[in-house]
């Protein structure tokens, strides 16, 4: 590759450095992701009832996701930019297909059956939406003008509504925020941001009107968990007890008693943070949050070093979405946000979200390791 020769007179050549550069891996980010994955295995072993099967299955998924990340890191960001609109359009077509099939099958459907595995178009859209918006806005001077803003908003709303219709509120929220992230980093005026925040607050009753009954239940339960102690509210009550009883230093690994109750069925998935907080306490939580913030900081740094508008917007938006992931999940587990189905990134049990997340980090690494120094 041409870029390698350019690297050489920029940094002191070393054997390890050369190997890593050829691998297109960003070391700080890689270490951060690796550490988080290790935390994931440690806590999954405990939350999954010390079941090795669960661990092995997750290990194979994480392996697959890391491989995908490295593959994507090797692709020149120019290729991502070039195919942004095609990939986005393809994703929308798949979303519509899923929706139609779901209607035929009379039930919620989120995936396409592709013979040997299930493919969730909504996962792909989490990445292609910021790609599309970044590609579109980068063609124009920044900050974007009214016309471009309007087009961008429409481009964000289409996949968001399609996913919300599935219905998958958590993913819809993540897709919307990935698109909104691009707008923010493109320099959307603070006045408009303030107006949107106020507008959303005013729109709440209308959104309420369009929500499914079970979605309303979740919101109501969030506002008053004690009203439904056997149903949805149970999660929140139990998770608060688990976290609170963990105290400053926690009960130690495998020491969780609360989360071991059979009544917290999502203790390995969406509510895994409660198990973590119970076993490792406030100290552990601070450590984990710091780890997350460091990953986000590194991603934002990569974005700031990117050499064109497209790369900057995409990289920063991916970092932003990652933060939204963390914030929404922990927020719901500690009872400050309503329960929407968002896993704790890189830690919750489950394959689909981890593959998408690491694909995003692969793109970030590609942006960072393909810079041209001339």
């Amino acid at each position: 590759m041409k870029t390698e020769t350019r690297h050489e007179h920029f940094e002191a050549p070393s054997v390890l450095g050369n190997v890593l550069r050829k691998l297109h891996i960003d070391i700080p980010l890689f270490i951060g992701l690796l550490l988080t994955s290790i935390v994931s295995f440690v806590i999954l072993y405990s939350a999954g009832g010390q079941n090795m099967d669960v661990l092995m299955r997750q290990l194979s998924r994480v392996g697959l996701a890391f491989t995908l990340m490295i593959v994507l890191a090797h692709i020149d960001p120019y290729q991502f930019k070039r195919y942004s609109s095609v990939l986005f359009g393809f994703g929308i077509v798949l979303l519509v297909a899923v929706l139609i099939m779901g209607q035929i099958g009379k039930g919620a459907q989120r995936w396409l059956e592709l013979g040997f595995f299930r493919f969730q178009p909504s996962e792909m859209i989490k990445i292609t939406t910021p790609m599309m918006i970044a590609w579109y806005l980068a063609e124009y001077p920044l900050p974007p003008r009214a016309k471009q803003l309007l087009v961008a908003v429409i481009l964000i709303v289409i996949p968001t509504l399609l996913i919300a219709k599935q219905p998958d509120l958590g993913t819809a929220l993540l897709v919307a925020s990935s698109g909104a992230g691009v707008l923010f980093f493109a320099g959307l005026s603070w006045w408009i941001i303030a107006a949107i925040v106020t507008g959303l607050a005013a729109l709440t009753p209308i959104i309420w009107h369009f929500m499914h009954d079970y979605q309303r239940d979740r919101v109501l339960t969030f506002l008053n968990p004690e009203a439904d102690p056997l149903g949805r509210g149970y999660h929140i009550i139990q998770s608060k007890i688990a976290i609170g009883s963990g105290g400053i230093y926690g009960k130690g690994w495998l020491g969780s008693t609360q989360s071991e109750l059979d009544f917290l069925p999502e203790s390995s998935t969406d509510f895994i943070f409660a198990v973590f907080a119970e076993e490792f306490g406030l100290v552990g939580c601070l450590g984990l949050l710091t780890l997350y913030l460091l990953i986000i900081a590194r991603c934002l740094y990569i974005a700031s070093q990117a050499q064109d508008s497209y790369s900057r917007l995409l990289a920063s938006s991916l970092a932003f979405t990652f933060f939204v992931y963390v914030f929404v999940n922990i927020g719901m587990v500690i009872g400050v946000l309503p329960v929407v189905g968002v896993p704790l990134p890189l830690i919750s049990y489950g394959g689909t979200s981890i593959v998408t997340l690491l694909a995003g980090f692969g793109i970030l690494m590609s942006i960072h390791t393909h810079r041209k120094f001339s």
Binding site: Q50, L142, F184, L230, G231, Y234, I248, L286
Partner: protein, 614 residues
């Protein structure tokens, strides 16, 4: 596009972007700080409070499962009850040495190797702190033995639960249905809170259609337990509300009579209380024992039921589709009178066959030499096919469809059981939509004698007969008479009640023919009129299973049993004040008069005898 790059100010864009990056990081840090504040609030300030709830003594919310309502017949006899059963359960985490424990238990309680093996498999799939059963139902001997030895088996415990039991086994399995373990698909549909702690749900019959009433309301208790999950203290209790007891209109004695009367035949018997629409008998034979389904039927046993040629799992009374044959004639006759295409005294000559103008095909009568000159009454009594070919031709398919539809053919009766079939009442539109063909005149003829596309369920036949018996009053058949729960008594299913406008004299003419079927010299079911003090109106029917070619002869003895004709009979009694309507279908039974009618006769006799004795 290149034009636009020209006005891009790269350095100002970069500055703006870096500002935004900084803003974003500050925002993320602030929000994270918010999370940390909340964590401090929970883990430092709230630590003592939550520890009290969780540290050594944890508060659990335990669902209190309501007792499922019982099911009784009309005389209060138990059709479905709950029996205590004891299972031996193990919590792996609390067992010091699993292999040793299992081998000691095996020796002590004489547990089979398969049970041990099955438990080992189950254990691998479960979390270590979850209790799972080694023995599903313990014998009294095992119970007594283990109760003494319990202190030597930490982590092993006896659990008591109630298991649904159906004392009448296969007799009414198709009506009552059964409960079974909740499966994954059902779990997704169910309200989580209501079914927390419930393991079973109605899968079939009354158990399924009245699931919500039978299940009751789940309560809960907030209990304090220690680390070994032993109960220490109950803090709060919201009692469950037991499910309602259901009282059916079904009479289990009458049900048994009908079931036994079918003998070795497959078939169905449905009897309806003409005054109310309540179902007295609902037999589908062969039945099956629903009890194994409750605990989980073994795969081989289930396969055997599934692949049995007699199809015991098939609810013939509710879902069996049969050509009604001549049992349709009273309704066709009434249609002819109501549409005024014939009058009751008018006679037609029957030479033993009927031909449509310009067609050589001969539509044959069952009686080879013909019936001679027949009027409406005789046509019904002797079941003259030629008379009804002629009548059908005069009515036309459109009129027949309109009239039969009013009697409920071609649509569900609306009974309070799930899975009912609607049968098939053919029409011009149906044939055009389904087969993309025009309606042929010959098809009108065979519809007139209950053959062709026409398909009915035994339940539909019984309902239509009850409608005829009550001068056109249509009542939705129902099984649940009343529901007795904590909130009081409620009546069961409510159906529509309306009347088909019919001329009394027309109905009387048809019924006269039906009375003669049973009580006259030439009647096709005269065998059942002995030793009765009341009159029965009836109509026999024979439905072809095999098509017979022109000029071919149907010889009962020479053909395979499964291709023999189905025998049918519809009836009601007493004629002067109808109480009960009965429909009988005997698969491969041969003739309606000799096989199906006696079954109805016995049901009617027993029902009226009891009625008059009281």
């Amino acid at each position: 596009m290149s034009r636009l790059y020209a006005i891009k100010d790269h350095s100002s864009e970069k500055r703006l972007f870096v500002n935004r990056i900084i803003a974003a990081f500050i925002l993320a840090s602030l929000l994270t700080a918010g999370l940390i504040i909340r964590l401090v609030y929970l883990q430092v300030a709230g630590h003592e409070h939550y520890s009290l709830l969780a540290k050594d003594n944890s508060i659990k919310i335990v669902p209190l499962v309501p007792t499922r309502g019982m099911i009784f017949d009309r005389k209060g006899r138990v059709l479905a009850e709950n029996r205590p059963s004891y299972s031996l359960e193990i919590i792996p985490e609390q067992v010091p040495n699993m292999e040793d424990t299992l081998s000691r238990l095996q020796k002590l309680l004489a547990i089979s190797d398969e049970d041990i093996e099955q438990y080992q498999k189950l254990r691998k799939r479960q979390k270590r702190f979850v209790s799972s059963p080694l023995l599903v139902s313990m014998s009294e001997e095992q119970l007594a033995t283990f109760a003494v030895a319990m202190p030597y088996f930490p982590g092993v415990d006896i659990h008591r639960q109630l298991v649904r039991h159906y004392p009448y086994s296969d007799l009414a399995a198709h009506v009552i249905g059964y409960v079974g373990r909740i499966n994954e698909a059902e779990l997704k549909e169910l309200p989580i809170a209501e079914y927390r702690g419930s393991s079973h749900i109605g899968k079939l019959g009354i158990e399924s259609s009245y699931e919500s009433q039978l299940h009751g309301k789940t309560g809960y208790a907030e209990v304090e337990t220690n680390v070994q999950a032993r109960l220490l203290n109950t803090l709060k209790e919201v009692n469950p509300e037991p499910g309602a007891n259901l009282y059916l209109t079904l009479d289990i004695d009458l049900q048994r009579t009908a079931y036994d009367a079918l003998g070795s035949f497959n078939g169905a018997v449905v009897a309806i209380d003409v005054k109310t629409g309540g179902v007295l008998v609902f037999v589908s034979r062969p039945g099956f024992d629903p009890n194994p389904f409750v605990v989980g039927i073994a795969n081989e046993a289930y396969q055997a039921l599934q692949s049995s040629e007699n199809q015991p799992l098939y609810n013939r009374a509710l879902r069996g589709l049969y050509p009604p044959g001549s049992t349709m004639k009273p309704f066709i006759a009434l249609a002819g009178l109501e549409f005024d295409v014939i009058n009751a005294g008018q006679k037609f000559f029957c030479p033993g066959f009927y031909q449509l103008p310009g067609v050589t095909h001969r539509y044959r009568d069952w009686k080879k030499g013909g019936h001679g000159a027949v009027d409406l009454t005789r046509a019904i009594t002797e079941s003259c096919d030629v008379y009804f070919y002629r009548l059908a031709s005069a009515l036309g398919i459109d009129n027949m469809y309109t009239f039969l539809h009013k009697f409920g053919f071609g649509e569900k009766t609306g009974i309070d059981l799930v899975g009912e079939k609607s049968g098939l009442l053919p029409s011009r539109e149906w044939k055009r939509d389904r087969k993309n063909q025009a309606w042929y005149p010959g098809e009108t003829l065979i519809t007139g004698i209950g053959q062709g596309y026409l398909q009915v369920t035994p339940l539909q036949l019984a309902k239509a007969t009850a409608t005829l018996a009550s001068n056109g009053k249509v009542m939705t058949p129902f099984l649940v008479d009343k529901m007795v729960g904590q909130q009081g008594t409620a009546s069961g299913a409510e159906g529509s009640n309306y009347s088909i406008p019919l001329k009394q004299e027309n109905v009387s003419s048809v019924i006269k023919g039906m009375v003669n079927v049973v009580h006259s010299e030439h009647g096709t079911a005269k065998g059942i009129n002995k030793n009765i003090t009341y009159q029965i109106a009836g109509k026999t029917g024979t439905a072809q299973v095999l098509g017979i070619k022109q000029n071919a002869k149907y010889d009962e003895n020479s053909i395979d049993f499964k291709y023999r004709d189905h025998a049918l009979f519809v009836s009601f009694a007493p004629v002067d004040d109808p109480q009960i309507a009965v429909a009988v279908v005997v698969e491969n039974g041969g003739h309606g008069g000799s096989v199906a009618a006696p079954i109805a006769g016995e049901v009617i006799r027993q029902f009226l005898q009891e009625k008059y004795e009281n």
